[in-house]
Each structure stands twice: as C-alpha cells, then as structure tokens.
C-alpha cells in the first residue's frame, strides 16, 4: 500500500495556500512521519489521503490507483484514522466505538463486538472498560481506544494526526512504545503527523520535515537527517543549532556510565563507557538501537 503524492497543491476557498507542488512516495509497511510547525500543511496532507480534503491540483495514488476516482465514504472506511483528542463518540460505549466502523461496513453486530474486545487486548486495555463511556476513561486510555478503533477494519493504511500530543509526557512515552510494538507485529503503512521532532525520530522510518506551504525541507531516515541536516531550517528544527543534540561526555556518573550534557549544559542522558572509553556501535546495527537514553530531553520538550 504505497501512497504517492504527485505535484499536489491545495488552496482553500479563503485563499490560503496550505500545500504547494508537493511530491512524495510513502513506502508500504513502514511509518512515515510528517513533522513541522503549525501551518506547514502537514494535517492537510494527511487528510488528503482519505479525501477529507481534496487537492486543488495534482493527484494522490494508493497502490497506483488515483484516489480521486474512489468514493470518499468507502475510501475512509478502508483507512484507519486516529486523531488528537481521540474523537471517540461520547454517546457510544468503548466497545461500540471500536465496533462502529466494521458495523457500518456490514459486519454483524455480535462479531464486531467480539473483535472489538480482542482489539482492546491488543492495545493494552482491560476488557472491563468495554462497557464504559469515553468520558469515564483517562486521556491515555481514550487514545488507546482511538488506536483500537483505527485498527478495527484491519486497514492497510493507518493515518495518525498528532494522536499523542494531548497526553502527559509519561503516558505519551507509553503510547509511543505501544505503537512501536504494534507496528512491529502489524506492519501497516502508517502516516503520522506531529510537531514534535523527538516523536518523529522515535517513530518514523521515514521522516519528512515540512516548511510553510507544505514545502519539503528534508526527507530521510532519522539517522540521515541528524547526521546531515539539509539546510539551516532543518538544523534549527531538529535542535542541532541550539546544541540540543550536540552532546559532550562530561563527568563520570555511576559505574561505567558517563554523563552526557548538551551545549547549554543541561544533562541529556548517560552513555555506557567501560573503563572510561566509549565504544562505537558498528554502523547499521538496527535502525532503532540507541545507546543514549534521552528521557530527560523528551520530557523537557513535552
């Protein structure tokens, strides 16, 4: 389920241009993250994939098929969508919220309910919550239900619009890990929108840094972008300029650990250095393996 944007532009009726001549291929079974400040068109791009927004010009293809010819309602039912404030229906129970789209597509009520319970397990929720209403859940639980609902029709594509930005940093961390775990087993084509560069680097196989008007500042893996920012804007956006990512080993912490500080002098994490020597990992040992734990950094960004 590769998604392809071909010279896509979007001008809204009020004259604002959200996206201008945007082209990109989103590979299947991987997570692509659109990251940028507000007004960079990232949400508009996401919503074009399920035709919540139609482009003014250009075309979008899913597996080679131009989606402008696919009726929007059917298209949306085949694509999972998770949004910021969960968007759960307040008048339906948790189980009904998860079962709602399968039921719209004709799955019998009973089966849809059973599948919904299995999905609650999958996203790490207690089945006892199934009969509650969304308002009776915590923000993190609501977001998990939102993810379960997005997965309910077993879509090939999952769109996520800043799904974790309204929860506190600790819960966000849990949700991010949960998503990584889920994606590890499901292998969906995930398109994720965020303004948090740390989240983008954590979750994305491919990260797209956007400037105003949906202009692509840089596309690449997190490693490529960190190692070689394409321009000043990217360097600034990922924090390289502020020295947030320029870490220096300073004083020995406990045992074999050495404390890392950023250019501003804030503690950013620790790194293992047996006998006071840093061991460099061979290049390419797993895209997500990190010897630096930068929890304080993420919490500070929240």
């Amino acid at each position: 389920m590769a998604i392809e944007f071909r010279h896509v532009s979007k001008t809204f009726p009020d004259g604002t241009t959200a996206v201008e001549d945007f082209s990109l291929t989103i590979p299947s079974h991987e997570t692509t993250v659109f990251v940028g400040s507000s007004g960079c068109g990232k949400t508009t791009l996401l919503r074009m994939i399920n035709r919540m927004v139609d482009p003014s010009s250009g075309s979008i293809l899913i597996d080679g098929q131009d989606i402008s010819g696919i009726p929007p309602v059917g298209l949306r039912r085949s694509i999972g969508y998770v949004m910021q404030n969960s968007g759960l229906l307040p008048h339906r129970t948790v189980a009904d919220n998860v079962a709602t789209v399968p039921m719209l597509t004709g799955v019998p009520k009973r089966k849809a309910r059973e599948d919904a319970l299995a999905l609650l397990d999958r996203v790490g929720l207690d089945r006892g919550l199934a009969k509650r209403y969304p308002a009776q859940l915590s923000g993190g639980q609501q977001q998990r239900v939102g993810v379960a609902r997005g997965l309910a029709v077993d879509p090939n594509i999952l769109l996520m619009d800043e799904p974790f930005c309204a929860v506190d940093p600790i819960v966000r961390d849990e949700l991010q890990q949960e998503l990584l775990r889920l994606q590890g087993t499901l292998g969906k084509t995930v398109v994720f929108v965020t303004h948090d560069i740390d989240e983008a680097f954590l979750l994305g196989n491919q990260v797209v840094i956007l400037q105003r008007g949906g202009r692509v500042a840089q596309v690449g893996t997190p490693k490529q972008i960190l190692a070689d920012p394409a321009n000043e804007f990217v360097a600034d956006f990922i924090g390289a300029k502020r020295g947030k990512r320029r870490l220096t080993a300073e004083v020995a912490a406990s045992g074999d650990d050495v404390l890392l500080v950023d250019a501003a002098g804030y503690a950013a994490g620790v790194i293992t250095a047996p006998g006071g020597r840093l061991e460099l990992a061979a290049a390419g040992t797993g895209p997500k393996s990190r010897s630096v734990s930068n929890k304080t950094d993420q919490a500070g960004d929240a």
Partner: protein
Amino acid sequence: MDWVWTHLDLISGETLAHIGLSVPPIVIGLLVSIPLGYWASRSAVARSVLLTVGNILYTIPALALVVLVPVVLGLSLLNPLNVVAALTIYAVAIMVRSAADAFASVSADVRESATAQGYSASQRFFRVELPLAGPVLLAGVRVVSVSTISLVTIGALVGIPSLGSFFTDGFQRAFPLEVAVGFVLVLVLAAVFDVVLTLLGWALLPWNRGARLTASAARVLSQPQPSSAGVP
C-alpha cells in the same frame, strides 16, 4: 368541594382535551425544529434569519393568533386545529433556537472524526449529531411543553374546550373553586409532562446520565472527582 366530586366526568374530559391539544404542538414543534435548527447550526445567515423570524412569531399575542389562524387556514372558528396550529407556531418559535444551539453543541472534533471513520452524511446526522444534540433538544422540549400546556387555556376564549374552560366558566359565574381547579390541574399536567420528558431523556440518552450527577457532586465536594479508572 362537592362541585369537584359531582363534576369528575367534566374534569377528566377537559383534562383529556387539554392533553389532546398539547401533545401535537410539542411533537410537531420538535420535528419541524430539528431540520431548521440543523440548518441554523450550519450557516450563520440561516441562523440569524431563522432566529429573528422565531422571535417575531413569538411576539404575536396568543389571542390574536388563535383568531387569525382560522382565517388564514380557512377553518371554522370552533375547530380545535386552530389552537394546535397556533401553538405549533409558538413551539417552533421557541424550539428553533434550542435546536440550533443543540446542534452547535456537538463538538467539531466528534463530527470530523465520524466523517473520517467513513460515516456518510445521513449516517452521521442520525447516529452521531442527532443523539449528541439530544440533551439540549430535551431542555428545549421541556420549556416548550410547559409553555404549550399553559397556552392551551387561551383556546377557551374562542370556545375550544380545555382546562381553560374552567377559567372562563368560573369567571363568568363568579365561582372561584372552578377557576382554582383549572389552575391546579394545569400545574399538575405541566409537572407530569416534565417528569415524563425527563424519564424519556433518561431512557434515550443513557450516556448523559452521569453528567449532571457528576457536576453537582463535584460542586458539593468542590474538588475534582477522582477518576475511577486506573491510569494505563
């Protein structure tokens, strides 16, 4: 009180007539207001036009309306439909504002999310927007119900029987007990209708049950309610 016991048939008959004249305007008023209110919640122009028209209609004196309606509709002066039609106009005039507010109270996030999940426009209206507008619609219907039950008495002035007949008859015969009976029964009827509507709301809007309880409990305790759900 003897009068009451000797006139039970008359009292129950007038009460039933009163109910018969009250229910149709309430129901029709709600049904007409739902599409109008939805339209008003979607368009600022529609909202201002509809609410202004509603306000103007509401300022027409009730007696004038009861006399005007048969002329306009070409009905006989004694046809009960005159009262029903006049009160339906009032019901819509009041209810359009409630309905517009009701649909405006549905969160944009929820509407958008329903669209994104693949609800068609009509599925979204009947399965998402209408039920979520329910609590505010219900509040509006309760106001309309009380107002309609009291206004039905006006019909007695043009000879259409209801509990209002006890007012006109009692005044003409300088017989205060009869007026008092009519007065009390109108109040009781309004209260009964209100209870029935509240129970209907409780049955039809189950997710809304805890809302008021929690709000009042929170006020009493003046501290946030601890969530019964554990943090994930």
